[in-house]
Amino acid sequence: MAQLTRRSANLLKPFSASVSATRHLTTSDTTPITVETSLPFTGHKIEPPSRSVETTPKELLSFFRDMALMRRMEIAADSLYKAKLIRGFCHLYDGQEAVSVGMEAAITKKDCIITAYRDHCIFLGRGGTLLETFAELMGRKDGCSKGKGGSMHFYKKDSGFYGGHGIVGAQVPLGCGLAFAQKYSKDENVTFAMYGDGAANQGQLFEALNMSALWDLPAILVCENNHYGMGTAEWRAAKSPAYYKRGDYAPGLKVDGMDALAVKQACKFAKEHALKNGPIILEMDTYRYHGHSMSDPGSTYRTRDEISGIRQERDPIERIKKLILSHDLATEKELKDYEKEVRKEVDEAIAKAKECALPDSSELFTNVYKKGFGVESFGADRKELRAVLP
């Protein structure tokens, strides 16, 4: 029987700290457990790491907690969008949670992550809170970007999270730039530049990879291959959908992205590699249950059987659940109770976010520049609305 103890909020990941009630399902037990990944890694121009991953009860339970929270958050966002409280774009990550939690387990907040627009869970993984997420999605002033960014523009620079980008593929050169700066500053940290199978064909990606390889930048390009670029299946978009091989001269690793431990192992391996030898590509074989965004039902280009099949066979939370149960770290009931708690936590955060005010009108004109030095800016009718930029 596992040791379940009441823990203060300090030992929990920051985003869980918003609930003041005592937490269950945590442990300080760090007895090593060795688990085999579901599949072996496949390497391109590199010897892949071992399938045996070291983990601990503490880590496994934290994986479960974090992924359950992410899953619940995204499903709640779906409802909020349908209730028209979230506007514009909303790209949901449910199904892909293992990539975020596995990566976080392998790295520190001094390493940088940059991704595209499917960024809510990455933000959470980097230490963002539920309130900041929901408030931003609903365009309120307590959002992580004060309501001025929206779903696609979450940032948390103090934890090395550089967004949140709307232009497909742009985040990859930006990520290589972060790696350039890390090397320039001699920081001994790495950058994970995440992109999808749709973005994998972008020219600027190859331009950035070329320079990263020439200059030995500590850049790790992570392709979250969920097999569909919006409505286009990978085999219709890429002559070679073996994205881990597309780096040509750059080594690559194909990883089961639904297995958080495999993701962790791969990211750890990649970080060591990148610090010594320059860029490496990780292809995470993953899946999104939702469509591309909330305006896409996600069922016109794939079958419902495919979706439910993945949910049945490869769901990342179910995998961790099985491990927890097989190692007697918790009971089925405890896990279910926890999921109920998560639901409650998410509902509370949403309720709180709904109470938040919209940004003040004066915020229209803030942050245009970091240093505005008294420059004037205008509203739609400049005789009616002008402001001096701070």
Binding site: K157, L174, C176, G177, M211, N367, K370, V375, R382
Partner: protein, 365 residues
């Protein structure tokens, strides 16, 4: 005589090194004052050198900036002085290296990204606008981007349609960007230093034909702490009959036009914009309120150009002061032709500015 020397230098472009030495020799003999001379090229080079020396976070990146000493020799000597980590030669991949530069700026470095000409910036324009200009706003101040994009802008001589476009109007439209356009060596030094020190993304529009041109320069300008304020235009020549606004190479043409107009009794005030964004509306309007007439001059395409914005701002803020319609001199509304006679017709000439100023003064030629 000085005007003729300047115009000859302007036509020779970057083959001016011998000519430039010759000009300097003539100028030094001609002027008895102790004013030093400096080419725009040397002004830019010295500004880069001093800012790199002062702040280890400043680095240069672009095609041929290092071993080649710069396509136009603007970064000459900097590789030897600062090493390949800070003077970085790139492959011919603008989208890639502009993105890398912006990412480095996100992290806190201060990149100076060179486009061999701004025509090639179109390959990277998404990074300039969406990754750089808008980030501080979208992140509500979390991610600022202290980057400079610099390089030659506008027409050179005989380089044809794809290598001659002026980008001042396009970049000048974007909130979040600062857009500078130096004319003289003092402008080049002061504005480049200000740009590198500025915490926001700056588009720095140089001019290839000005690189070899020499200008007098004071000790104050030569001091390493010198910089010019962003957003402030300079009155190059005071006048009372008509205001002529210009930027970059056209400032020289406007000054020549003013000399010609003076002989005909028209006293023109020439404003060197120095900054395209934020536009110094206050200086422009004050001048028009004094002269009551306005001619805008630019090299770029006329539609939605810088002159259009200046005209709108004057009509909005100083309508009652205008005694004549605003005149616009701009590049011809055609892609740049190659043949010398057609090219001459496609770019504003001094006589175009003179004619427009006379029209604004209701004088026929």
């Amino acid at each position: 005589m000085w005007g003729i020397i300047r115009q000859r230098a302007a036509c020779k472009g970057n083959h001016a090194s011998n000519l430039e030495q010759g000009i300097r020799a003539i100028a030094l003999r001609t002027f008895s004052s102790s004013a030093k001379q400096m080419t725009v090229r040397d002004a830019l080079n010295s500004a880069l050198d001093e800012e790199m020396s002062a702040d280890p976070k400043v680095f240069i990146m672009g095609e041929e900036v290092g071993e080649y000493q710069g396509a136009y020799k603007i970064s000459k000597g900097l590789l030897d002085k600062y090493g390949p980590d800070r003077v970085v030669d790139t492959p011919i991949t603008e989208a890639g290296f502009a993105g890398i530069g912006v990412g480095a700026a996100y992290y806190g470095l201060r990149p100076v990204i060179e486009f061999m000409t701004f025509n090639f910036s179109m390959q990277a324009i998404d990074h300039i606008i969406n990754s750089a200009a808008k980030s501080n706003y979208m992140s509500a101040g979390q991610i600022s981007v202290p980057i400079v994009f610099r390089g030659p802008n506008g027409a050179a001589a005989g380089v044809g349609a794809q290598h001659s476009q002026c980008y001042a109007a396009w970049y000048g439209a974007i909130p979040g960007l600062k857009v500078l356009a130096p004319y003289s060596s003092e402008d080049a030094r002061g504005l480049l230093k200000a740009a590198i020190r500025d915490p926001d993304p700056v588009v720095f529009l140089e001019n290839e034909l000005l690189y070899g041109e020499s200008f007098p320069i004071s000790d104050e300008v030569l001091d390493s702490s010198f910089s010019l304020p962003i957003g402030k235009a300079k009155i190059e020549r005071e006048g009372k009959d008509v205001t002529i606004t210009a930027f970059s190479k056209m400032v020289g043409y406007a000054l020549q036009a003013a000399d010609i107009l003076a002989k005909e009794g028209i006293n023109a005030e020439v404003i060197n914009l120095r900054t395209i964004r934020p536009l110094d509306r206050s200086t422009i309007n004050s001048s028009v309120r004094k002269t009551n007439r306005l001619v805008t001059v630019e090299e770029g395409f006329p539609q939605h150009g810088v002159g259009a914005e200046i005209c709108a701002t004057v009509v909005e803020d100083s309508f009652e002061y205008l005694d004549a319609p605003v005149e616009r001199i701009a590049g011809a509304d055609v892609p740049m032709p190659y043949a010398a006679n057609l090219e001459r017709m496609a770019v504003p000439q001094v006589e175009d500015i003179v004619r427009a100023a006379k029209r604004a003064c209701y004088r026929s030629h």
